[in-house]
């Protein structure tokens, strides 16, 4: 699947509106720049010092001043109207609608809730194409920022100040994004992936996510569950069907079906998961995940169990 990351390849209606107002402002700016730079270059060449020519000592012209006050005034008034129009197109009032997705930002990962279906996930967002979606943003700690460049606007995610955003995704695909407001050590490693799918695929995904975790089948997986319980993973992480108290860290119910680990830091493979469990700080500096002091065997069991949670 494509990985659209650029502002210039919009994947939502809202992003297209914003991009067209960007192009309007850009066009006006380029024209103004060409005029100003042209005048400067012309003046420097035409009026360079030459023998036999004295500088003319004029220093004011009222109507000229009026001209270059009024024309910019008209231009900025026009640009303001562009801004106002685009704003209401992009973010109409929410009128107390239930959000389709609530994103809770943590240092340094994303907690995801789909209020309509009760699904909880982390870091990898699935959304349907073609629907007018309302996203709500909350922060569990400091100020973060939600930015998927192909979706247009970004929004600050502020503790005690929930924000919303409307989206109508127009093209299916995998879209990358990132935390945009500096939030501390792990800021650069707080990435977002959005899988925009057809409504049917999305429904299927929700149904899958709503299932509790697969029970352990092999001996190794059972030992993995034991490690999960005994080594305090259980205090922060939840696995539906096993333990649901932990809220501090990503929900692991279907961790095996995700494509990346640690908020987009690593591709999700057994080797990478083992590496992550062995020394979280070496993979993602600052992460709140403690070094749990697992032995090589314990890591093997836990990895086998978690990777099996498809």
């Amino acid at each position: 699947m494509d990985k659209f990351t650029s502002v210039l390849t919009p994947a939502t209606k809202e992003a297209s509106y914003i991009l067209s107002s960007f192009y309007i402002v850009l066009g006006v700016s380029v024209i103004i720049f060409v005029i100003v730079a042209g005048l400067v270059v012309y003046a420097t060449i035409r009026f360079r010092r030459r023998s036999g020519r004295e500088a003319k000592q004029f220093s004011e012209n009222f109507w000229l001043e009026v001209l270059w006050i009024s024309i910019p005034l008209l231009i900025v008034a026009g640009l303001f109207m562009v801004a106002v129009r685009t704003m209401s197109l992009v973010n109409p009032p929410t009128l107390g609608d239930t959000p389709d997705l609530t994103v809770v930002a943590h240092q340094w990962w994303w907690e995801l809730h789909y209020p309509r279906s009760g699904v909880t996930a982390a870091n990898e967002i699935h959304l349907p194409v073609g629907k007018h979606l309302l996203l709500k943003f909350e922060s569990a700690d400091v100020i973060h920022g939600f930015w998927v460049p192909a979706f247009g606007q970004k929004i600050d995610v502020i503790p005690g100040h929930p924000n919303t955003m409307w989206l109508t995704i127009t093209r299916p695909g995998r879209y990358l994004g990132t935390c945009s407001s500096f939030c501390g050590l792990g800021h650069a490693d707080m990435r977002i992936q959005v899988f925009a799918e057809s409504p049917e695929e999305f429904k299927a995904w929700l149904a899958h996510e709503r299932q509790p975790a697969l029970p352990p089948r092999t001996v190794e997986e059972k030992k993995g569950v034991q490690v999960f319980r005994e080594k305090n993973c259980i205090n922060c992480h939840s696995i539906a069907g096993l333990a649901t108290k932990g809220r501090e860290a990503p929900d692991l119910t279907h961790v095996g079906s995700r494509t990346t680990l640690a908020a987009g830091t690593l591709p999700n493979t057994s080797e990478n998961l083992a590496k992550w469990l062995r020394n979280p700080q070496a993979v993602k500096k600052g992460t709140r995940m403690p070094d749990t002091g697992l032995t090589a065997d314990q890591i093997k069991y836990l990895t086998t169990y978690l990777e099996g949670l498809k």
Binding site: F22, F33, T44, V142, G145, P149, G160, A188
Partner: protein, 565 residues
């Protein structure tokens, strides 16, 4: 002392001035010229550090997934780069020019409160040292120069060794420099109001002084907002005051509002004296009076006024009410109008002139073009939905470097090449200056123009490294390579400043044929500034003098209207 032999008495270079030879004369000085020089020299040292930090940042960002620096180190480096450049390099450098030249340009003996002037400098120096001292604790502030709450609270600012002492050093250091800045601003204002000779009417004040005075008004009104925010933060950290703590009813947006209520006037504080320098240099090198003096002054007042009504445009992505957005979007686009007035008046000043391309003038010309780019990308951000898209990205980094580096730093360079002879009695090397100019123009535009595209490609600012996404590797590689060219330009500048002091061509009193009063005294000026002040009939007293001498053929200063000081 008799007036006639003042020129024969003057020292050839600042190094030969007897009063300046002992260290004690500097430590105990209340002379605005010495304090101005100390301001400028100290700020140059901080500028050197700030440039070095920038080189470190560009080296870290030279390729994707680069782990040369840890995020801890990089976060401290970018925070200190911003803090240094804004508070310790550019603002005090402009303040230094204001302190040195305001009295000279209005024909005054010194500033109104010389002792307070000295105190302000020493507060700035001590504040700067305190902020840098936190490097020794291994825990400098690492939350960005805007230090958003609650990242600076005790809970989130600690690393594994310490409870974020860097934040405390930063707070106290900024409170000290901030207090100093307010003192200097009051000093400049009172000096301009109170110490002008009787015939220096408001309509005859040089534009640099006008813009410095309006700048001083901004300083007096804006810095207290920062100081209040800093005190609140300090109380939060040490007295559990909960101003910014959401769980106890506080609000982190309070910090953003307080900070930007200071922060946006601050960006005009960082450019207005620069506008002043440009408004002095362009006329002299075009051999014409400034075009539209009254409109230039009025535009500066308008910018100063509007600058207090635009702060929330830094917060367009915080999810505020649409009405708030409309107000701030409107005030923000409006500020483009007075800025446009300035640009067009500078061009009109060049129009019909006889322009010589000395280094100072080259920097002015590049400034006009680069600042126009920075201004226009500012209008892009004033368009609220586009701001939603591009804020917090490298597009913003490119935008404000076009205004602060391509803008302010270029004006300061023009100021150095223009006034260095007056301050030191030596000329800066022009050849070296022109090489520096081209290195800086090429290096600056090469580094920052392309960063607009990094923002469009989806690169957020303040990341220690970035994934290998399309275009990012190429863009950053190009940007970093040009950054080294820019760094070389800065290096040549520092070399030029030092060697010109010893080997530079001796400067006469008025090497550029300037028309404002600072050129009516010796280079460097004597301790009492002026033996005699020519009559002031217009904004160009020395031009008037020249014309009357041409007419009368007399060489001496006319006795009428001249004033002994």
């Amino acid at each position: 002392m008799s007036n006639e032999n003042s020129t024969s008495e003057k020292a050839g270079s600042i190094l030969e001035v007897r009063e300046y030879k002992s260290l004690l004369s500097w430590l105990s000085s209340v002379d605005h010229k010495q304090i101005g020089i100390m301001y400028i020299t100290t700020s140059l040292l901080f500028l050197l550090v700030g440039v070095a930090l920038a080189m470190v940042m560009r080296t870290q960002l030279i390729k994707p997934n680069h782990h040369w620096l840890s995020p801890e180190t990089y976060n401290q480096v970018f925070t200190m780069h911003g803090t240094t450049m804004v508070f310790l390099a550019v603002m005090p450098m402009l303040t230094g020019f204001m302190v040195y030249f305001t009295p000279l340009m209005i024909g005054a003996r010194d500033v109104s409160f010389p002792r307070m002037n000295a105190l302000a400098y020493w507060l700035y120096l001590m504040g700067g040292i305190l902020i840098y001292f936190s490097f020794l604790t291994g825990d400098t502030l690492h939350a960005g120069w805007s230090a958003y709450a609650p990242l600076t609270s005790v809970n989130y600012s600690m690393n594994k060794y310490l409870v974020g002492t860097g934040v405390d050093y930063w707070i106290i250091g900024l409170l000290l420099t901030g207090a100093g800045t307010i003192m200097t601003a009051i000093n400049i204002l009172v000096t301009v109001v109170d110490l002008r000779p009787p015939d220096m009417k408001l309509t005859r004040i040089p534009l640099f002084v006008w813009m410095s005075s309006i700048n001083a008004v901004l300083m007096v009104l804006a810095l207290p907002a920062l100081n209040a925010a800093l005190v609140m933060l300090f109380m939060d950290r040490h007295l559990n005051a909960l101003f910014f703590n959401t769980s106890a009813g506080g609000n982190p947006l309070l910090w953003e509002h307080s900070f930007w209520f200071f922060g946006h006037p601050e960006v005009y504080i960082l450019i207005l004296p620069g506008f002043g320098i440009i408004s002095e240099v362009i006329p002299v090198f075009s051999r014409k009076p400034i075009f539209g003096y009254a409109f230039m002054t009025a535009a500066t007042v308008a910018i100063g006024f509007l600058s207090f009504g635009v702060w929330a445009h830094h917060m367009f992505a915080t999810g505020m009410n649409f009405t708030v957005y409309y107000v701030f979007a409107l005030s923000t686009v409006l500020i483009a109008v007075p800025t446009g007035i300035k640009i067009f008046n500078w061009i009109a000043t060049m129009w019909g002139g006889s322009i010589s391309f000395d280094t100072a003038m080259l920097f002015c010309i590049a400034f006009i073009i680069q600042f126009t780019i920075g201004g226009l990308s500012g209008v892009v951000f004033a368009t609220v939905p586009v701001d939603w898209e591009l804020t917090h990205s490298y597009f913003v980094v490119a935008h404000f470097h076009y205004t602060l580096l391509g803008g302010t730093i270029f004006t300061v360079m023009a100021g150095f090449y223009y006034w260095y002879p007056k301050i030191t009695g030596r000329m800066l090397f022009e050849g070296l200056g022109k090489i520096q100019f081209w290195l800086m123009v090429i290096g600056f535009n090469g580094t920052f123009f392309i960063l607009h595209f990094a923002g469009l490609a989806g690169m957020p600012r303040r990341v220690y490294t970035y994934p290998d996404l399309p275009h990012l590797a190429t863009i950053n590689l190009i940007s970093s390579c040009f950054a080294y060219v820019l760094g070389l330009g800065f290096l040549l500048f520092f070399i030029n400043l030092v060697i010109s002091l010893f080997k530079g061509k001796p400067a006469n009193d008025n090497p550029w044929g300037g028309w404002t009063l600072e050129w009516a005294t010796s280079s460097p000026p004597p301790a009492h500034n002026f033996d005699r002040i020519p009559p002031i009939r217009s904004i160009r007293p020395l031009w008037d003098l020249e014309q009357s001498q041409k007419q009368s053929g007399a060489a001496a200063l006319p006795s009428h209207g001249g004033e002994n000081v």
